[in-house]
């Protein structure tokens, strides 16, 4: 069987290699068709007992073919070259790596207030080898690191939790973190509007001046034409007939702290605010400001047990909002009645992403258990699994690379020794970019 597979695969390789060559021209030596042996070595093949792809059904006894850190194909009974590295995970469940959409893991604590749109986490981030080991152990492959503080403390960055230290950064700067301070946000946006007006005024003035200069020059040119014979006599070339190169418009500098808010008002693609809500009232207040300026935004709400977020479920659901919640049961506001707030949000139409209850190792490790609890209390299994993978990927705008096991996406997987919602489940290994970056210790 293997022999047949090799022959069949060789054809595929040839096609892939030629296609690669056509697409990229003569970029790197690795793409050259003349090195088929190296080409084969770059393939990693995972034979998995079960693959939770997050798109369509789970694949039993599936094969995932990975090369260059990217998923080439997923399916059942796929063939692969003999020389490929085969990872035998036939007793494992493979699912996409978990994504933590909001964390300060590995970063120091400090407070900061005010508007700091120019600051990013990248300034305080250093990719140490084991910086995110706690997350890695729990099955997280990507994490959005957020700036600390209150108000508008700066912009997040999204990194991988392990693997190649140079290739850790997935996106930087990422979303703008905004806490529930209505007056501060309103003031910051008003300031940003002023900055926009400042640039517009300068542009108008510039254009007006340019127009005036042009007219003057044309006038001079006409006059010069009339005087041409005289000048020719003098043997001089009239300067006015040679149009000087027009200077380009140089916009006045925008206050760097408010630059990102200007981008938000001008709806620059990919820029959005993550607004953190403490309670239902915060939603009303923040929404008032966000709606006024039509700011691209998603929400994060800390749904602790006394939370009154149920009041705004309908409104958020109607907007099909993307929201980050914590995997906890809640209560009907001001009563002792228990309420599955996560499920209520999810069923109202929100796309729910979950973040750990606390930013610490024990909570990361408990994530699968908490998901199981939420599913046991009536939430759908599919939504629960997506809430830590595909939904945070979509929220972060990285769903082209992360969140599911599909062709073309990054090879970031978690290898589990059972169903993810099984209470005894353990993370056995984690792969990032096609490399095993973590393996559980012990007898298992």
């Amino acid at each position: 069987m293997a022999g047949v597979g090799h022959r069949a695969w060789a054809r595929v390789i040839a096609v892939v290699a030629v296609a690669g060559l056509c697409a990229s021209g003569s970029v790197g030596p690795r793409c050259l068709a003349g090195e088929p042996a190296d080409e084969d070595e770059r393939f990693v093949v995972i034979r998995a007992g079960r693959v939770i792809t997050n798109v369509g059904d789970e694949v039993r006894n599936g094969v995932i073919v990975v090369s260059g850190g990217t998923i080439r194909s997923v399916g059942k009974g796929l063939e692969y070259p003999l020389s490929a590295t085969v990872i035998d995970a036939r007793d494992r469940v493979v699912m996409p790596g978990l994504i933590n959409p909001h964390s300060r893991n590995g970063l120091p604590r400090y407070g900061r207030g005010g508007v700091h749109g120019d600051l990013t986490v990248a300034e305080e981030y250093f990719p140490l080898a084991d910086a995110h080991e706690d997350l890695l152990k729990a099955g997280y492959t990507a994490v959005a690191l957020v700036p600390a503080g209150q108000g508008i403390p700066g912009r997040a960055m999204i990194v991988r939790t392990g693997g190649d230290e140079d290739g850790r950064t997935l996106q930087s700067p990422a979303y703008l973190r905004v806490t529930a301070d209505k007056r501060l946000l309103r003031g910051a946006l008003a300031r940003a509007k002023k900055e926009i007006e400042k640039v517009e005024t300068a542009r108008k003035e510039f254009e007006k001046k340019r127009e005036e200069t042009r007219k003057e020059r044309e006038k001079k040119a006409k006059e010069a034409k009339g005087k041409k014979p005289e000048k020719e006599k003098e043997g001089e070339k009239p300067a006015a007939t040679q149009p000087a190169k027009e200077p380009a418009f140089k916009p006045p500098p925008i206050d760097p702290a408010h630059k990102v808010l200007v981008d938000l008002i001008q709806k620059k693609p990919g820029v959005f605010a993550l607004v953190e809500l403490g309670n239902a009232s915060d939603y009303e207040h923040m929404q008032e400001v966000l709606a006024k300026h039509e700011i691209a935004h998603h929400f994060l709400a800390r749904n602790h047990r006394q939370s009154d977020l149920e009041y705004v479920v309908e409104k958020l659901g109607r907007d099909e909002a993307k929201i980050i919640l914590q995997p906890e049961m809640g209560r009907v506001p001001y009563s002792a009645e228990r309420l599955h707030l996560v499920r209520v949000f999810s069923e109202a139409g929100c796309e729910v992403s979950l973040m750990p209850v606390g930013d610490r190792a024990s909570e990361y490790a408990q994530m699968f258990g908490r998901l199981a609890e939420l599913v046991r209390a009536g939430w759908s299994r599919e939504a629960a699994l997506k809430s830590v993978t595909l939904h945070p990927a979509r929220l972060l705008g990285l769903d082209k690379r992360l969140g599911s096991i599909e062709q073309g996406k990054d090879a970031d997987f978690v290898f589990l020794d059972g169903d993810p919602l099984d209470p005894t489940v353990r993370v056995q290994a984690v792969m990032i970019g096609g490399q095993i970056v973590h393996e559980a210790e012990g007898d298992e």
Binding site: R183, S281, H285, D308, Y334
Partner: protein, 482 residues
């Protein structure tokens, strides 16, 4: 009707006069409406109309009659026409209730129709538009929302529209107690549960003054400052007079009018209302004298010995925020009657003082279980009745008169066409101890329903349709209802 929030108080008084006139007209018109409807529409309109009814506009003659007969509504109708692109009109009707208008008659089985948070028609036989939220109040009493002339912990500090927790338990409890408008620091704000829209009624209305005999220095300073500002006002008047005669005169120096002097100037121009905390007779007399001397609007808060200084306060045109159940024991050493009395509110009112009633603790607290906090504002007014006030007047102390004290009577405090749709639906007379609020409506939105909230849903779930069931209990005794 003027919808401005920062109006001055002298306009208020003239408006009150106008309102009196309107009220008379209203009474006449109400009769006209009822009679006219009786001719054209003998029975009450059904709550729901057939789906074939085309427009969302009320097409009935009854509404037309109402609008035509009331000068206030004609302007209202023109001002609330929504422009293009605006959301559809929001209609709400409370039907079949016994409607206590407070400034007008009590209408049995009447409908209160509200459009976009404003009352657009009151009367029997009011036709409802096709898309209208209907609240049935059959067998129930309908009142205007209550106004708390002193309150804490309901709204946030600063601008309440920015700081209030609009889903707070305190706000919910206050709504359950029937309060729809409350003073919030320097603002007057509504209890718009779940939204900040239409929350603030009035901003920067009051100037807190200290005029206590325990601090004679501060007293002298305030008096001196007021005299200085009054002199300036007179100088300005003289200057204007001379200038109009064509004299060559220098304008008076205005540079120093800033900070507190600016506030005092506004006080003397009656753009701000002076609010003074004072309780004892002499203090009340002194502050009344101050207000009369300098001619500013005065509200005294506390005033437990108001009954001793009622005539002085009345002469000064003052308003009082009082607690009928205030408990200040008389000082036996003083050779005059003193201390608090349950008759305080009644006596003040009899002397022409505008009276607003507040409970002992003007907040939502756990002590409220004893009935002495904002959760039982209606009970406090009932204690004014115990002190000799009439039922109708006591109702006014927590509705229209409280709204007048806060300067928001053009918007709230009574059920009138053109006023804000803030209503309560109760299961009995508001001043009866057993009465509970079943539905609270603020700005035409249902914000509290007893049956749906976990607070009081379990207490007499059906509610009593009226208090008449209890009349034949004799000897009167408190029993646990089954």
């Amino acid at each position: 009707m003027t919808r401005a929030t920062g109006h001055s108080v002298w306009r208020m008084s003239s408006r009150s006069a106008l309102r009196g006139l309107l009220a008379v007209m209203w009474l006449l018109c109400g009769a006209v409406v009822v009679l006219g409807d009786a001719e054209t529409q003998p029975a009450l309109q059904p709550a729901s109309r057939p789906a074939s009814q085309p427009a969302s506009q009320p097409t009935s003659q009854a509404v037309a009659t109402t609008t035509q007969s009331q000068p206030t509504t004609t302007t209202q109708a023109t001002t609330t026409q929504p422009g293009e692109g605006e959301p559809a009109e929001r209609w709400l009707a409370v039907v079949n209730g016994r409607v206590h208008t407070v400034t007008g008659p009590v209408l049995d089985g009447a409908t209160v129709l509200c459009k976009d948070g404003v009352i657009s028609a009151i009367g029997t036989g009011v036709a409802l538009p096709a898309e209208c939220q209907v609240v049935d109040a059959a067998g129930r009493e309908v009142y205007p929302g209550l106004v708390a002339a002193a309150a804490g912990g309901i709204h946030g500090g600063g601008d309440p529209a920015d700081t209030t927790n609009v889903y707070s338990l305190n706000m919910l409890i206050a709504l359950a107690g029937g309060i729809t408008t409350a003073i919030a620091g320097d603002h007057v704000a509504k209890l718009t549960f779940g939204t900040t829209e239409g929350m603030v009624l009035r901003s920067g209305a009051f100037l807190k003054l200290k005029y206590s005999s325990r601090d004679p220095l501060a007293r002298a300073k305030l008096r001196a400052d007021l005299e200085r500002v009054r002199a300036h006002v007179r100088e300005v008047a003289a200057y204007e007079r001379q200038k109009s005669r064509g004299d060559d005169v220098k304008p008076p120096d205005k540079e120093w009018i800033k900070g507190k002097y600016d506030r005092y100037l506004k006080l003397l121009r009656r753009e701000l209302v002076g609010m003074v905390s004072a309780g004892e007779e002499q203090e009340l007399r002194d502050v009344a004298e101050l207000a009369q001397t300098f001619g500013f609007d005065l509200v005294v808060r506390g005033a437990h010995e108001g009954w001793r200084a009622a005539s002085a306060l009345g002469r000064a045109g003052a308003a009082a925020i009082v607690t009928p159940r205030a408990d200040v024991a008389p000082d036996e050493r003083l050779n005059r009657p003193n201390g608090s009395t349950i008759e305080n509110a009644r006596i003040l009112r009899e002397h022409g003082v505008r009276v607003a009633v507040i409970p002992n603790t003007a907040a939502i607290t756990v002590w409220g279980l004893a009935g002495r906090d904002l959760l039982h504002l209606n009970m406090e007014a009932a204690f004014a009745v115990r002190g000799g006030m009439s039922n109708d007047d006591a109702l006014k102390t927590i509705t229209i008169d409280a709204a007048r004290v806060l300067g928001v009577d053009d918007r709230v405090g009574s059920l009138e066409v053109g006023k804000d749709a803030d209503l309560l639906i109760c299961d009995g007379d508001l001043l009866h101890y057993m009465t509970q609020v079943h539905t609270t409506i603020v700005n035409g939105r249902v914000v509290y329903e007893k049956a749906k909230e976990s607070l009081f849903a379990h207490i007499r779930p059906e509610g009593k349709p009226g208090v008449s069931d209890f009349d034949d209990q004799w000897p009167r005794q408190l029993t646990w209802p089954d």
